[in-house]
Symmetry: C2
Subunit: 346 residues, 2 copies
């Protein structure tokens, strides 16, 4: 069994989010805690800006949960930069133990799954899971510095500048949490719970085009979603939403084909964060990507829909492409992974 | 509380290790499963050799536990290369879910702690934790390619070429495991157990010299070890061994000073994997380092001492320096972390 069940239903009592101007012109604009007026966030480098965004998202998550930094037992985080420096340097700002994780753009669901597992087992009461990404630092590290002015192929995606965090807690009698987030209408007891986690396998379909992440990641998403449904005995219609992370338009189409081939039609309930994060403009091509994509879309937009009970059951399946510039230069294909969690109003 | 206790005592029923010729000339030589005759391991690049070593260590761990790949519920792994490609590409070789973690050279204890937490909670029966490193790939990525022939300063350490894994299991009646490892004398029920994990905080003492990792990491080790002792109510003499990962000679001396200042004398029971891994030669200066250092020393040498009950209680506290070449180039100091686990014959 790849899927584990959380009997004690750890709650997501609050989230905290921040995003760049381009992102906030889209669907998440009115849901994030902070919109950046420019993507340097007052820092001298894009890497420092990325780290500061992540640090902000963590702080805001704690504040929105009505808690203080000292109430947090553990921070679980990771990011796209080499040696996950955004997460490590952000963790330096907090007096809390830190567990570094990495699964590229599925880091949001990986960190939430690990956090939920540790809270559900009773090891810790309050755990914050967070991640983020930055368009300019990702371009520089994975592709070309912006100053080069390279053109982008039509199958490419646009790394989201943004960060998001989730406050995951046991939310029982001894650990009262009152959400102070704007638009929040519910107490912690009524907050959405994480009920299942399905850790994914590495799936490699032999894609070598580093500009075509959606196609590379779709088979991993299909594998984890189908495994989750089989192991939990659930069907697509049991979910109001099957939310993938950053497959983009092309990857989403491939995912629908792959699952349909196996007799599962996810089409009616499927939404991809990357596909909806931007207003449809020319230069993002297939949509958004990056660890910050699902971090912002879930923790801002989707979380508030769960809180208002406009939707009640989400399968959140973020995907990650586990390549590096070195592996690609050495002729390797792109291994991918998808970690999924089930989030429900119970 | 940073420390969590594992009531159900997950067992380390087997380990698997591989190391390079230079490493095997030292203390671990007669304990590893495989000694490489040259450090390319038959591959065309050092990165591919590193990945193959890690894959070998995982396979050997499973074989030594008398199990098959399909018996493994989860692989927890990470490494030093950008985007942890050694772990991700090694995971591609196995039909098992994969949880990527990163904390630089403390990845061995982080992955073992996470594995123990998931097994202890009953989510999974059999989890493999593994990591490794390679001298040449680390030099190329973090410092200079070997071909440049740069000289090394006297405070520098030598990244270990090697990998190690641990098979962590619930080892109860329904899940019988028989260790088939050479020199193994005990059944799974008598195997060493992981009893506590102390996840560390990020500690930054402002060190900026990337050739002086020992000094940068020692404060993190002191913080986690002192926290562990305080929270468990244990003293240094309760442990037969306090085993740090890769502080090296200089870092170990700083650790002893820092803990002594706080009224705790770890000197009598302290050993550092980096300090003992090599025969004393000139070019390693302060000793070994890298995620593979503690992975090989613990899983080969120390584990077999635990199995033979020559020692019975070890506090294993590996340390990691959470820098990247980008953070250093941007003038940042080196944030560090130390994750500790207690391993006991119970």
């Amino acid at each position: 069994m790849q899927t584990i069940r959380f009997k004690n239903m750890p709650k997501i009592v609050a989230t905290g989010t921040i995003a760049g101007p381009k992102e906030c012109a889209g669907v998440v604009g009115k849901y994030v805690d902070k919109t950046l007026s420019d993507d340097t966030f007052g820092e001298s480098t894009y890497e420092k800006a990325e780290c500061k965004m992540l640090s902000y998202a963590i702080s805001q998550t704690i504040e929105n949960a009505g808690k203080r930094e000292t109430d947090v037992d553990l921070l679980v985080s990771g990011d796209l930069l080499n040696q996950i420096i955004s997460a490590s340097f952000a963790a330096r700002d907090f007096e809390t133990p830190f567990l570094g994780v990495y699964s590229a753009c599925s880091t949001m669901t990986e960190s939430m799954a690990v956090a939920a597992a540790l809270v559900n087992a009773g090891y810790y009461k309050n755990v914050v899971a967070a991640t983020g990404s930055h368009f300019a630092s990702a371009e520089r590290q994975y592709r070309y510095p912006l100053e080069l002015g390279n053109t982008r192929p039509p199958q490419s995606q646009w790394t989201v500048t943004g960060a998001g965090g989730a406050f995951i807690t046991s939310a029982n009698e001894e650990n009262r949490v009152k959400n102070t987030q704007k638009n929040a209408e519910k107490d912690a007891e009524n907050a959405p719970a994480i009920t299942f986690a399905t850790f994914g396998r590495v799936v490699d379909f032999g894609i070598t085009d580093v500009n075509n992440m959606g196609a590379a990641m779709a088979p991993a998403a299909a594998h984890t979603i189908l495994t989750h449904l089989r192991e939990t005995g659930r069907s697509v219609s049991d979910y109001d939403l099957i939310l993938t992370g950053d497959l983009g338009a092309l990857g989403s189409r491939i995912l629908k084909d792959l699952t349909w081939e196996k007799g599962v039609d996810i089409q009616p309930n499927h939404v991809d964060c990357g596909e909806i994060v931007y207003n449809v403009l020319e230069d993002e091509f297939q949509g958004g990507s990056g660890a910050g994509c699902s971090a912002v879309v879930f923790n801002a937009y989707i979380y508030q829909k769960l809180q208002k009970r406009e939707i009640n059951r989400v399968l959140f399946a973020a995907t990650g492409a586990l390549l590096s510039t070195v592996s690609s230069a050495q002729g390797e294909s792109i291994p991918c992974i998808c970690h999924a969690i089930s989030i429900e109003n119970v």
